[in-house]
């Protein structure tokens, strides 16, 4: 693990999201409760909708293009839809968001 300091949690609106550019494409950082952040692929497996633009509710996000809902813990699509988005390790320390750089470097190095 190599934790990289990305930003303060308050840089993401409550129940909102921002993206981080990585070698594997854009990753969405989703802020759910006051101090809870998830990292997951920004791309909906259905038609490629940008998930960080969706509405964040509970611990899920709804794709803005066609309302697919994903559980941010598992990346699994909810309800009748099937599919999964990649999730990534993320940590909060003293209000700072840390991402594991190794999770993104691995495949790009290969």
């Amino acid at each position: 693990m190599s934790w990289i300091d990305i930003a303060a949690i308050t840089d993401i609106p409550l129940r909102g999201a921002r993206v981080v550019k990585t070698p594997l494409g854009c990753v969405g950082l989703f802020r759910t409760a006051e101090a809870e952040v998830f990292a997951a692929s920004n791309t909906c497996p259905h038609k490629g909708g940008p998930l960080s633009e969706g509405i964040v509710h509970g611990q899920s996000v709804t794709c803005p293009l066609h309302n697919w809902v994903f559980d941010l813990n598992t990346g699994q699509a909810q309800g009748a839809d099937t599919g999964q988005i990649q999730t990534y390790p993320v940590r909060l320390e003293g209000g700072r968001i840390l991402l594991d750089g190794a999770a993104f470097a691995k495949r790009s190095a290969a």
Binding site: K21, P23, P50, H57
Partner: protein, 808 residues
């Protein structure tokens, strides 16, 4: 006799010495303390502040106690240095004392935000007796500001308020005590504090502390507001005091690193309390400190003991605020929530389960079972057998399940149910009890739901509540899975219960999810904004992406940008600016829309603020082509150029657009003005269409040319342009106040009937009220969102770019 030096006389150190002496070890103890006194129970300072206890009552170890134990006390003295090689400490006065074992218990220091003015006289933390005494010196007529809505900040605020001080709490996060409570419980807590007269500002940034003659005078917020105060208390957190240990070369992180035996990286030095870091955690509550004290004493005695981090529970020491939080109450994988809400009693309980075990609990309003739940958490009890009744606590005797109708049952008798006919709950219940036991007979005898019909659901629920099983209500469609209420019920209850925030709606109306979903949140956000334009703060996170980004998302994730062209009129300068912007931002497609505007398609999300800034400079503002709000007013050229035109249709179109732009509505709203019945602007398939004729203006409403095709129906004929504008504005406001979210006007009209709308618009007083209400809302919302967005381009950019770092 072995020499033991203890630095710090706080609660951890006091408890450790107690254990050590109980075990009868043969120690020569010297105790240093920076505060000029022994140990007192710091967590009881709040009852001292509020006057419920005196300082003497909270002292745990006074000078006599230490003396009786044979401990040498050096109160009011700090340790300047630790020499690990020589095994000595140097006191401030230069004395050098040798030790066999050393215990660091330096505690923590309050964190002071280094904002301008933080060093003014009258800016204090809430940490020790001196701070408490400063707060106790205030009284009636004094003003205080507390920065920080956590445990300490709220206890400080409540304590001062109890002394008659005028207190304002300023909190950065969206709800109070966010580390211990979820939003719903935070909402109830705020409601209680506000009810006591404490002013509570959440989601609020402080900017600077304003002083006069070196003394604090006011706190200035980021939005420019000034809160005058005689005392400013900063209660924003604590930081472990590690300087002494760090200088001595001990391993430190956020705190002084210790292992399970409370040993630091030096085997002769132990550390306990708030100054330590154990397995990544630092500590601020008392329970783990006592555990550490016990372990440290055993370690000193050479016995085997291990410190294990365990769950802690929190209670707010503010009389009358029943609040309990324990364990981990975040949602998570494999976790399930059990939520209980009783809006009438202001009770909220939430249990978090994982693997059939209780791992967290939050309670507000009724915390009687808190310790029982905490016991289940600590013991890791398997709760699968009592799962169904768990939330009702240990005394559960087989009572009934929570009533989904309780929101209606909770309404007072004088709550207005039918706004059209002014019928209140009491009248309806009386009629039901008098024999009117179905909707038609109720309509006939009370007039309730006999006009626009939006209260029908509520009247049916009253029948259900009053008659119980005797009444079978027709199934009404709820907003979404988060609630059993219909859109109409939610609108009505927001008005009648004066609910002015989303957490208020979730709590008072018994939402069964923590914060709604993508279906209900935009609707609730609109209802609150439409009903309370002055009090409610719009929530962008409850808006669809188009409205949040003020541009239309396209299928590839790019956006389309449509500048406003008032009434469809433009000029060469604007066209040049649009062409330049299209060039500069590589817009692949430039299209004329169906509403007579120009659409720039394919703009990247992060370019939006920049293209807006360019367009703003040319005088162009957002065309709101993305909004559930006014889109365009399509026009023909009217009398200016057309040989058939009867009135200035272009001019009227521009005036209408300038009156209505920026307003939010249940769905998109499109208008058109045609200069003659040839109808070149296609006004007869719009939400509001005006046809100019020789005698004046024909205003018609409820047209559609989308999923459904529908011709407008005539609302009214008027003689003057001003009347045409008034009627249109009044109609739009009536729609804003009554329609279900995502119903276009034609769908809403089908429910309430055109006749009812005609009556309201024809009523001179009602028309004036509608126009005034619309204008009031527009004082806040009639503004260009692009200009705001252009000023903060960072919000549209990626948070970070790891592509470069990983490549290195």
């Amino acid at each position: 006799m072995k020499k033991l030096i203890v630095i710090g006389a706080g609660m951890a150190s006091g408890r450790m010495l107690e254990h050590l002496l109980e075990q009868g070890g043969d120690w020569d103890v010297t105790l240093f303390n920076a505060e000029p006194r022994g140990c007192y129970n710091r967590i009881m300072l709040s009852p001292v502040l509020s006057g419920e206890k005196t300082y003497d009552e909270i002292v745990t170890h006074d000078a006599d106690w230490y003396e009786a134990q044979g401990i040498t006390c050096r109160f009011g003295e700090k340790v300047a240095q630790i020499d690990r090689t020589a095994q000595t400490v140097t006191a401030e006065n230069g004395d050098v004392l040798g030790y066999d074992k050393l215990v660091i218990a330096t505690g923590s220091a309050p964190f002071i935000i280094p904002m301008p003015g933080h060093d003014l006289e009258g800016v204090i933390a809430y940490r020790d007796l001196e701070d408490t005494q400063r707060m106790m010196s205030l009284g009636k007529g004094n003003k205080a500001v507390v920065i920080g809505g956590g445990l300490l900040g709220l206890e400080a605020a409540a304590g001062m308020q109890a002394r008659g001080v005028d207190v304002t709490v300023v909190h950065l996060m969206g709800h109070l005590m966010e580390r211990q409570l979820d939003e719903a419980a935070g909402y109830l807590l705020r409601k209680e504090l506000v009810g006591r007269g404490i002013n509570v500002l959440v989601s609020t940034n402080s900017k600077e502390i304003v002083g006069q003659d070196g003394h604090v005078k006011a706190l200035r917020l980021e939005n420019g507001t000034e809160l005058p105060c005689d005392l400013l208390v900063m209660a924003v957190g604590i930081r472990p005091s590690i300087a002494l240990g760090k200088d001595a070369g001990l391993a430190v992180g956020r705190g002084i690193h210790v292992d399970d035996q409370m040993l630091t990286s030096d085997a002769n030095i132990l550390a306990v309390g708030e100054c330590i870091e154990h397995d990544g955690a630092v500590f601020g509550l008392v329970a783990p400190l006592y555990d550490q004290a016990k372990v440290a004493a055993k370690t000193l005695m050479g016995e085997d003991a291990q410190f294990v981090q365990r769950d802690v529970s929190t209670k707010l020491k503010v009389t009358g605020c029943d609040l309990f939080s324990a364990g981990d109450f975040a949602e998570g994988e494999d976790r399930e929530d059990i939520v209980f809400r009783d809006p009438a009693r202001g009770v909220y309980k939430r249990l978090v389960l994982q693997d059939n075990k209780l791992i967290g609990a939050v309670m507000y309003g009724d915390t009687a079972d808190g310790n029982w739940f905490f016991g289940l958490i600590k013991d890791g009890t398997d709760v699968s057998d009592m799962r169904d009744t768990l939330i009702f606590g240990p005394a559960y005797q087989g009572g009934a399940a929570a009533d989904p109708l309780s929101a209606v049952a909770a309404l007072p008798d004088d709550a207005e149910i039918c706004g059209c006919n002014g019928v209140c709950k009491g009248t309806i219940v009386q009629a039901i009890n008098g024999g009117a036991q179905d909707l038609p007979s109720l309509k006939a005898c009370t007039k309730a739901s006999a006009s626009c019909g939006t209260c029908t659901g509520l009247v049916e629920q009253l029948l259900e509540v009053t008659l119980g099983d005797a009444y079978a209500a027709p199934a009404a469609q709820s907003v979404c899975g988060c609630t059993d209420l219909t859109h109409e019920d939610v609108r009505r209850l927001i008005k009648s219960q004066e609910l002015k925030s989303q957490p208020a709606v979730w709590q008072e109306l018994g939402w069964n999810t923590p914060n709604g979903c993508h279906v209900c949140r935009p609707a609730v956000n609109f209802y609150l904004l439409a009903d309370w334009p002055l009090e409610y703060q719009d929530d962008p996170q409850s808006r669809f992406v188009n409205e949040r980004k003020h541009a239309n998302i396209q299928k590839d994730g790019t956006f389309s940008v449509v500048p406003r062209m008032w009434g469809g009129i433009t000029n060469p300068a604007e066209l040049r600016a649009i062409a330049d912007a299209a060039d500069k931002y590589n817009v692949p497609t430039v299209k004329v829309t169906g509403g007579q505007r120009i659409d720039l398609l394919g703009v990247k999300g992060e370019d939006l603020p920049y293209i807006w800034a360019d367009l703003n400079r040319a005088g162009l503002v957002s065309g709101h082509a993305y909004s559930k709000g006014l889109r365009t007013v399509k026009t023909c050229v009217g009398t200016d150029h057309c040989r058939f035109g009867t009135q200035d249709s272009t001019g009227l179109g521009i005036k209408l657009e300038q009156a209505l732009w920026g307003s939010w509505t249940p769905h998109k709203v499109k208008l058109a003005v045609s200069g003659c019945p040839r109808n070149c602007a296609e006004a007869t398939c719009k939400d509001v269409g005006v046809i100019c004729v020789d005698s004046g203006y024909q205003v018609s409403v409820g047209g559609a040319a989308g999923m459904d095709l529908k011709e407008t129906e005539r609302l009214v004929d008027v003689a003057t342009e001003q009347e045409a504008i008034d009627v249109t504005v009044a109609f739009v406001q009536l729609y804003r106040e009554n329609a279900k979210y995502l119903d276009r006007p034609y769908k809403w009209l089908a429910k309430v009937g055109l006749d009812w709308v005609k009556e309201r618009i024809a009523d001179v007083d009602e028309r004036a009220r509608l126009i005034a209400a619309f204008e009031l809302s527009q004082t806040i919302y009639r503004k260009d969102p692009w200009a705001e967005g252009a000023a903060k381009p960072r919000a549209f950019a990626a948070l970070a770019d790891l592509t470069l770092e990983a490549a290195e």
